[in-house]
Symmetry: C2
Subunit: 475 residues, 2 copies
């Protein structure tokens, strides 16, 4: 294929992508220094219709550094129909951090595991991935560096970074081998490119990209680990459903509430001072009292420190990106608290039960959720997950009370009645959710809410305990 | 009205706002230090349904500092149905910068002018604005500061900043007077609040907010300055239409293109080094050659430095915010180049002619656009606006050629033919756009495009000239 033909076919493939708005493309180039990566990307970008292309090659901003590592890449995922080109990207971070020993061997392995998960998630959501490694021999790199440095028009391309990477050629070569071997996947394949002049290299990159874009989609396999029903500490509606206690009287409630809120205010100040991010996810039966419990929490918080997100239907900008994007974009900056009134668990609850997500999608979501929460924990965050449960009879009583009270009528919708009809399906989905996402550090807490007062105090107590446990840790 | 009634009415008003999704609310509190602003906002936020509320009180991040000043507030405008509460916000910036003499008297006046424009734009787009100034006498402030400092539970609230502002009480008082007088407007009124205990203050803030939310909308008056047809240098299709030159031969074109691109590459590197942001807006007749001209520019640029935005229909997230938001969000960070393939001028061209924007909206857009571009200039940016014009006969020839060429057919849509039917309406709208938005520093350049080669060279030449002029300036 000559280069004009190649160019037209690439352009056709890109226009089809933009027209259909079903998939997006990520092309990532990494590898040795001074291998014409920048030049090739420039020319490739010129070949393509650049209204549907974006190039990313920056280091992290302070806003990015103040959030979990993967936030910086989630925010850059191209929307459907577009091509995102990354120079180094997440591979450069891992490669150079390991070469410079800023990542221990163990941390490097963990990072590779995260990369596998990240790419599998993207691929499952229709992102076409292609990863290119640019090779160059040590002696050839040296010759090329000398050449560049002697050419006044191009000498600016060589800085201390390039020389440093030349000095580390053998190390980069070795790390690159591991990195490629450990992240090779049919949904995110590697291709190596021997060193060539930019024009020739461009043709090879173009052919590789065209090949990927024309290949049939191959979504990654989802492996669901088997469940042990008896995992210690996993809550279950089946077991706990009957936990109804005597109603708490008002005076005792008020006193304990004031005490818990004062404790929360002080914990939250310390959280801010130590710049620890906190994520609190509320799930629960309709009318279980999520709103009221959230209110009792926020009453104790400085309004500048927290934000409540109500998760409803996604916007079109959210729909045009992989599923996780809408939660990643709402992660709090360090020291702040994000409270989710319904959350990413909607995927395995309402979306599963109502058939809004296909089985493959919600099955895969368990792993995606574990990965997401793991990222928050590794960044030093606190992840609190609460399920507010009521019995079926209690829910009916509350629905009827809402319907009868003008001030509360807005809270009751047809959807609430519909959900109630599928009560048993929901119970099953909830129990499976507990079993599959009860992670160390991100455990589920099941709150019995038939008595509102006890429930609110229990939520407050739980949040306090979790914050205090985090504050007591040395990190 | 007792405080329970007030609370319920506020909640009702908020729920109506959230349900109707037509308008949003901005409540801003500023004024003297230690006047319970934080506490009042906390309690107010607790009164409201906090899933529809957001509180903003942070200093600018590095991403914000690397963009024009107002970017940090545009990104925080609440979407329709929500309430945004700002502590100090843009008034705090102006007030304290002036008190500490970081803003000269002239710069302070300019800032107040910007504030008036900003608020008028928001109000015109349905944002309900209310601004509260918290008063306190100097002696009372001193007493309150001493009290706080002696209370171990609250002493943390007093830092050097509070004492500094106490020392500047008279200055803040005087600046506050000017600031309020100069930014008072019926669509963005001020209310002063004498110092009171937090509970009482909360009631007064709540009443003020309720009053504003229940008041009938009062959009600001639009004043269109009269046009001088003969303003020097303003382009006009009417006059320049006939400017057809002899076609340029291919060899001469290639040589001049290579020369212009080399010059652009070097200018762009210097722009990056000096961290100057550049915005290039392309408008023009259908089939005038915008895409081709953009390609000839980007061929000379490093792909990491620029991004091309094609402006089509807005997303739903964009529709739920004031009109300008979708352009503010795309402003480049310092040192980068944003190329707009169609731009904010769509408001006074296609949206005007096709009736997608009402007359009041597009009339007001001239001023909004001037304000927007002015912000870019004041931040040190370069604003280049190009109109690519062809004659009506030439357009027909190109449409027919596109229809006949398989590779180009995707470029021709029914819309193109429809627009052509309204040729004269467009010509009028274009000439009025030139006349009303030909700003010093952000002039329009009209490029005759009947000969594609000459047109591409002219675009390149113009961009080079504008960049060189900016690089030659001392700032």
């Amino acid at each position: 294929m000559n280069s004009d033909t190649l160019r037209y076919r690439l352009l056709d493939a890109q226009l089809a992508l933009a027209r259909e708005q079903q998939r997006s493309v990520i092309l990532l180039l990494t590898g040795h220094a001074v291998t014409h990566k920048g030049q090739v990307v420039n020319r490739l970008n010129h070949w393509l219709e650049n209204r549907h292309t974006e190039v990313h090659a920056l280091g992290p901003s302070s806003e990015e550094q103040a959030r979990p590592y993967w936030w910086r890449y989630w925010r850059r995922i191209p929307d459907r129909g577009r091509i995102g080109i990354f120079i180094h990207g997440w591979y450069g971070d891992a490669l150079f951090a390991r070469a410079e020993r800023r990542l221990s061997p163990g941390a490097f392995q963990d990072r590779l595991e995260q990369i596998r998960t990240f790419e599998a998630e993207l691929a499952a959501e229709g992102v076409i991935l292609l990863k290119l490694w640019t090779d160059i021999g040590r002696r050839e790199q040296r010759r090329h560096l000398d050449e560049l440095q002697q050419d006044p028009a191009r000498a600016w391309q060589v800085g201390p970074g390039e020389w440093q990477r030349h000095g580390q050629h053998a190390v980069i070569e070795a790390i690159g081998r591991t990195l490629r071997a450990d992240t090779e996947a049919s949904h995110a394949p590697w291709q190596r490119l021997a060193f060539r002049a930019p024009g020739e290299q461009l043709n090879r990159v173009g052919r590789a990209l065209l090949g990927r874009m024309e290949a049939p989609p191959e979504p990654p396999a989802v492996t669901l680990e088997t469940l042990s029903d008896e995992a210690p500490g996993v809550p279950s509606l089946h077991r706990d459903d009957a936990a109804v206690e005597k109603r708490l009287d008002k005076a005792a409630y008020r006193e304990r509430l004031a005490h818990g809120q004062a404790r929360l205010a002080s914990n939250a100040r310390e959280i801010a001072r130590r710049r620890i991010p906190v994520v609190i996810a509320f799930e629960g039966h309709d009318a279980a009292g999520k709103g009221g419990s959230i209110h009792r929490l926020t009453a104790a918080l400085d309004a500048r420190q927290y934000r409540v997100y109500r998760i409803g239907a996604p916007s079109d900008e959210e729909l045009s990106r992989p599923w996780g994007w809408r939660f990643w974009r709402r992660l709090p900056v360090d020291g702040r608290i994000a409270i989710f009134d319904r959350s990413w668990y909607g995927r395995v609850l309402v979306e599963r039960v109502e058939g809004l997500a296909g089985e493959a999608q919600w099955q895969r979501a368990y792993g995606e959720i574990r990965h997401f929460e793991q990222q928050l924990l590794e960044h030093g965050g606190v992840v609190i997950k609460l399920f507010l449960a009521i019995r079926k009879e209690e829910q009916l009583k509350r629905f009827e009370a809402r319907a009868a009270t003008p001030h509360k009528r807005h809270k009751l919708t047809d959807e609430d009645w519909r959900n109630r009809e599928r009560w048993d399906d929901y119970q099953r989905a909830i129990d499976e959710m507990f079993a599959r996402t009860h992670l160390p550090g991100a455990q589920w807490s099941l709150i019995a809410c038939d008595d509102k007062r006890r429930a609110r105090l229990a939520v407050l107590e739980l949040v306090n305990q979790r914050l205090e446990a985090r504050l007591a840790s040395a990190i």
